[in-house]
Symmetry: D2
Subunit: 345 residues, 4 copies
């Protein structure tokens, strides 16, 4: 199932080490100004090789608009976007192709696809497919901006290092895409050390939707938080999602958790901007837990495709913490959800 959305439908395609990856976007309203650079600037935030704490694979991730735009504006026809794969090096994968990498989808894909799947670079299970989500999401975000809606995601915690302040302006000023420059510095040091160990670490990414009008989302199976959970959990490394107080509600009383109202509006935002599955006009606040990168240089026990026990060391080129690169992906998925609600464009 490589299809997402009902009104603003996207179908993504492509493998990590194939010729190209891409996405077709069907249902974009007519007359939206759109250039490749609108999309490229978001892809540049996700692309590999941005700093010394990310993978050294250096894809330029240049996007080409192949259809659906005429004289600089969207035509209402499907928009086909293609990104060629350039820096493909499958040699590391050929060596380990018969051994399941722990934490990766090698084992589950091998069972599901009976060995026919393209194993090079993880094939379709690679995080590389998220580039096409970011590309489609860039168009969705442009559309949302016409309604004044903006989405901000940022790294909030890595290991035990937490952001104290949230400053949206700082997010793109540090390679961690952390919302707090002080925390970012500590995170950077921590990750550099981890990299030497050949290990990786998890993190929390927080997403805030600003200026979503009230009334968006539908009962009972079209709840905005349910759709956001689906979309965010569809990102490979995500293992948990929370809205507003999230798991903290477990030891909160009703009298503490309810958002009371006064003349000017709500006194608090424990709900995270969504009640009964419908936006209430406050900031929509989501957190996702991102697991540590599965590819690590440390030796691990595993099985091979013949079912025998063996060991594996995953060299390749990997991010010790995937959080900074998940940030634009999370923003894209949230944008893709919002353009598939009852918001009118």
């Amino acid at each position: 199932m490589n299809l997402f959305g009902t009104n603003f439908r996207i179908m993504t395609w492509g493998e990590s080490h194939g010729k190209a990856i891409g996405v077709v976007i069907d249902g974009v309203p007519v007359g939206l100004e759109l250039t490749e650079s609108d999309i490229q600037k978001e892809l540049d935030r996700r692309k590999p090789g941005q700093s010394n704490i990310t993978t050294t694979r250096t894809e330029t991730d240049l996007v080409e608009i192949v259809s659906g735009v005429f004289k600089g504006k969207t035509t209402g026809s499907p928009i086909s976007l293609i990104i060629k794969n350039k820096d493909v090096d499958s040699s590391d994968y050929e060596k380990i192709k018969d051994r399941y990498r722990p934490g990766h989808a090698d084992y589950t894909y091998n069972i599901k696809y009976q060995g026919f799947n393209d194993y090079r670079g993880g094939g379709r299970s690679s995080g590389r497919e998220t580039a096409t989500r970011v590309a489609a999401g860039a168009i969705a975000r442009k559309l949302l901006k016409t309604k004044g809606i903006e989405i901000f995601a940022y790294v909030k915690q890595i290991g035990t290092i937490k952001a104290i302040n949230v400053n949206f302006n700082d997010i793109d000023k540090n390679p961690l895409r952390c919302c707090d420059l002080n925390a970012a510095k500590k995170m950077e040091e921590y990750i550099s050390a981890l990299k030497k160990e050949g290990d990786s670490i998890g993190c929390i990414v927080e997403i805030v939707i600003k200026d979503c009008p009230p009334g968006i989302g539908e009962p009972v199976f079209g709840k905005l938080d349910a759709k956001l959970s689906y979309a965010l959990m569809s990102i490979g490394a995500v293992k948990a999602i929370s809205v507003g107080e999230g798991f903290k509600v477990v030891d909160m009383k009703g009298s503490e958790n309810n958002d009371q109202m006064v003349q000017d509006g709500f006194l608090t935002n424990h709900a995270g901007g969504i009640v009964g599955g419908i936006s209430n006009g406050q900031d929509i606040v989501l957190n996702i837990a991102v697991k540590p990168t599965a590819s690590i240089a440390k030796e691990q026990k595993t099985q091979n495709k013949q079912g025998n026990e063996t060991t594996i060391t995953v060299s390749g080129r990997h991010d010790p913490c995937i959080g900074p690169r998940i940030v634009p992906v999370a923003e894209a998925m949230v944008a893709l959800v919002l353009v598939n609600t009852d918001l009118k464009f």
Copy 2:
């Protein structure tokens, strides 16, 4: 959007204080033995008035099969289930109908539906609609059992009281539907006290899927964990979802979180049974955070429909902790997801 599922499609209907609630289930395979008591036994686990720690509304929640079953077996035609509302008392609601109940969907529904929605008992936003999910889920569970798949949900934590042991056999032996009888006792005392205060409390419900075969779920937008997150987050009171280690991955290293393999299989199950969105044959383990019941007897500040500040005391008949009654709903939603995967029946 009151439709769920692609193969095993359900459409639910009905308001809390209307004539009846119901569900139509389309896509049930032929030849499954099915009686009303198969469904009733699940409904009895969700129905109100089961113990002194739940609401005193005493719906019998008797289900009637109106179509789709002939000579005791499913026919392949849509199954229509109807549950009449009996113990409807809207008097409490008439008094407060112009004031938004904090933590409830009154405000968001009022904006979305421009005041046309049935406000009595929360109308369509009431937890009462979940009875129809349980009814449809009972059929899904029966189908899953033909494949040996079983689902167990239970209360794992209420406030700061945590279950220590997990014993599936104890779940239906205590009114909390807790997996640990000792913890259950403490929870019961705690809730009785809370009830006197007129307050409520949140909880964690854990769900375990046993014997799901490997290979179920699809990349990239058909991931099993993404679909489960959507389904569970569509339950009114749920504010967070985690798979396997969930938010704990934040300070885990790759070397700690990866599930290594040996000859006999996986050494650990940090992933919670799903990798790359596909089941790996281990137990699938999910946690959901359930918010404290919004209806509390304590006075709260709010607005009325005219936009003026006022106060409200929600008397009515409410559960101080919704967890025990969410247990069968969570099981039902998980079952409804599983029958909508690539499992073949």
Copy 3:
């Protein structure tokens, strides 16, 4: 698959000789005035026993609105409609239950459902299910009227007897629902004669959509004519569909078939109001071929469920020409298509 529509979704249920039939309608906009009589008046046009040329089964087909309407207006919640089956007489069917009725779905259902289907009265394959389409369609038509769109269907030809004039006002003035009273009279005589023979006859029903605005329908798989064809062909007895000139285009030249334009608009309407799958503002004109009722009193050769040759005489209570009762069904299906286009409500 008992689900129709994407925005205005309906799920129908019920067997011919079961307890009841019904439909749930999800996605009706809020604030539409709606009473049971709005629906009943359409059902009365489809119900059996209206005249001496239709079946003598005398269902009252009384509809009950069970949810989704509050204080006389739609609430945005799903609308559940139930019609109880009253005049059920399965005795004729028990006698022939092991023999496939020629022209009926007995054989195909038996193969598909492995004998588990409810055979009484044809069960789910009976034309009785179309009552629920008419009920849902009544709401759709009411919604369309708020935009000034109206739908007229009528019998245009029975056997070789053709309507000469088309007068919308005459349609409900004759039991044939023919648009021409003279032709209607001849048709009535013809059918009375046929009835004595124990035979049946086919017909053409024409449907005209008035005042559909231009621009409705979408390329390339959302074409308005494609969606109408799907909807009309889903009616049991329909064997062909045409738009505008239909099969007559086969020996028309481009210079004859093209609709040229002048200052005031189109000179002709060969296209039947739809070009490139999109309405052009002219009348939308559709024709459907309705097969002769399969149930006839004449003896026919057939097989039984054991695969042996035998004969059958289908007594029961049947319409010698199904056209007059298909008229409201065709209107309903067209209405249900239109509320699932990009028309905004």
Copy 4:
């Protein structure tokens, strides 16, 4: 809406005079052998410039498989196919871009897309998009062949010239794709004459599905004939569809139209292989009416985009009868329907 299918989903994209056209196919089972030549051979049957009775635009229509195939077999990942546009000449269109071509979608597109659509060569409304249907259909047909199912389409009538014999082997032996070589010869002469006049003609294409097993298709909105009608009517030039006897049922009696059964099976096939929306194991027989090509050299009256009356002569390069090139498109659409039924692969 450029998405077709539920299990075997395709999303098509591209404009007639853009850079390329293409399709993504999602849901193809793993392990199917697939090469570009499997697809190319079908595209070659549809491509322009095949004979002197078709358009002189000479696209090579070379297809490239960009993803989803590894080591010569399908992987279960989406298959992206791209066909570059080569022989693009927009000069004729620039001259007439402000005038609506009669019989074309210029007027309806202009209203719908508010003038933002790519008008060159008809843009998205051009028959050129059907190349991507043929490409996707080639994969569907390969899959169907693994079940022994084959599809044959052919021109059966052009103007008043009818095929007398149906010989599947002759279809690809004449440029008309007619099933009767004698009729083909007359058709060819007739079209050559028409071409000189600058006019065009309609035709009938018949489609036969061989060896479809019984039991395929679903009541009540998943009927096989309803889905086929939708798919075939989504082809630009199609104005009518019939199953089996089609419009001939109008003056047939039940005793004539019913397909009686004997020991060996059905005595006749008036139903065209589908009863109650479900295949009965006989040949499935469909007819479609194809309108005369709208582009003709004769002068016609029309409006321009400013709403003023004017005239137009459509020179360009066009097929005087589109039938021969619709044949592979019709086969493709039928194949795409069949892989989206309950057939198991």
